[in-house]
């Protein structure tokens, strides 16, 4: 399933034109990206939480050459599914 399929679902469900449905999908994911980029987490009830976590700097090693380097501090995004989401896919 891709953004286009999601737009079709939205088109079927809401009284929007196909163009409007596509634009809404774009707007939604672009907005979520900018919120997360600002370091803010997003909680979608019944779905899950997109968390922004800070990772401190650490020493790492290039596995090929063995050269030790400093891995700078960074932010990563993790997704924690809701209990309900976990429950419905458990037996798939």
């Amino acid at each position: 399933m891709t953004k286009a399929d999601l737009a079709d679902k939205v088109y079927e469900k809401v009284g929007l034109s196909r163009k409007e449905a596509v634009d809404m999908i774009e707007t939604l994911f672009e907005s979520m990206k900018s919120i997360l980029s600002e370091g803010e987490s997003i909680k979608i009830t019944g779905f899950g939480t997109f968390l922004v976590r800070k990772k401190g700097s650490r020493r790492g090693r290039n596995p090929k050459t063995g050269v030790e380097i400093e891995i700078t501090q960074r932010k990563v995004i993790t997704f924690k599914p809701s209990l309900q989401f976990k429950a419905i896919v458990e037996k798939v």
């Binding site: 939604l28 907005s31 909680k43 779905f47 419905i88």
Partner: protein
């Protein structure tokens, strides 16, 4: 940020749509993703990330209260892999 504040935010950008319509759009998107995964399908959102299921093997665990050994059955769990664009975006600024 919660779903309702996300709806508010998107609503401001969505010209010509009522807040109720925006709400239905957002609900539909997340419900559709869940539905796709329950069918064993995966979802690819370019620039944002992919949703798919990952398998967890059966394992032996213990009831922390009683100490009794229990068999945990194999199961599937939702997994989100962050897209390249988003992964890079969070580290800018």
């Amino acid at each position: 940020m919660t779903k309702s504040s996300l709806i508010e935010k998107i609503s401001e950008k969505a010209e010509g749509l009522t807040k109720k319509q925006t709400e239905v759009v957002i609900e539909t998107v997340f419900e559709s993703i869940k539905e796709a995964l329950t069918k064993g399908d995966k979802v690819e959102i370019r620039g944002f990330g992919n949703f798919k299921l990952r398998s967890r093997l059966a394992r032996k665990a213990r009831n922390p209260k009683t100490g009794a050994a229990v068999e945990v059955e194999p199961k599937k769990v939702p997994y989100f892999k962050v897209g390249k664009e988003l992964r890079e975006m969070v580290n800018k600024v």
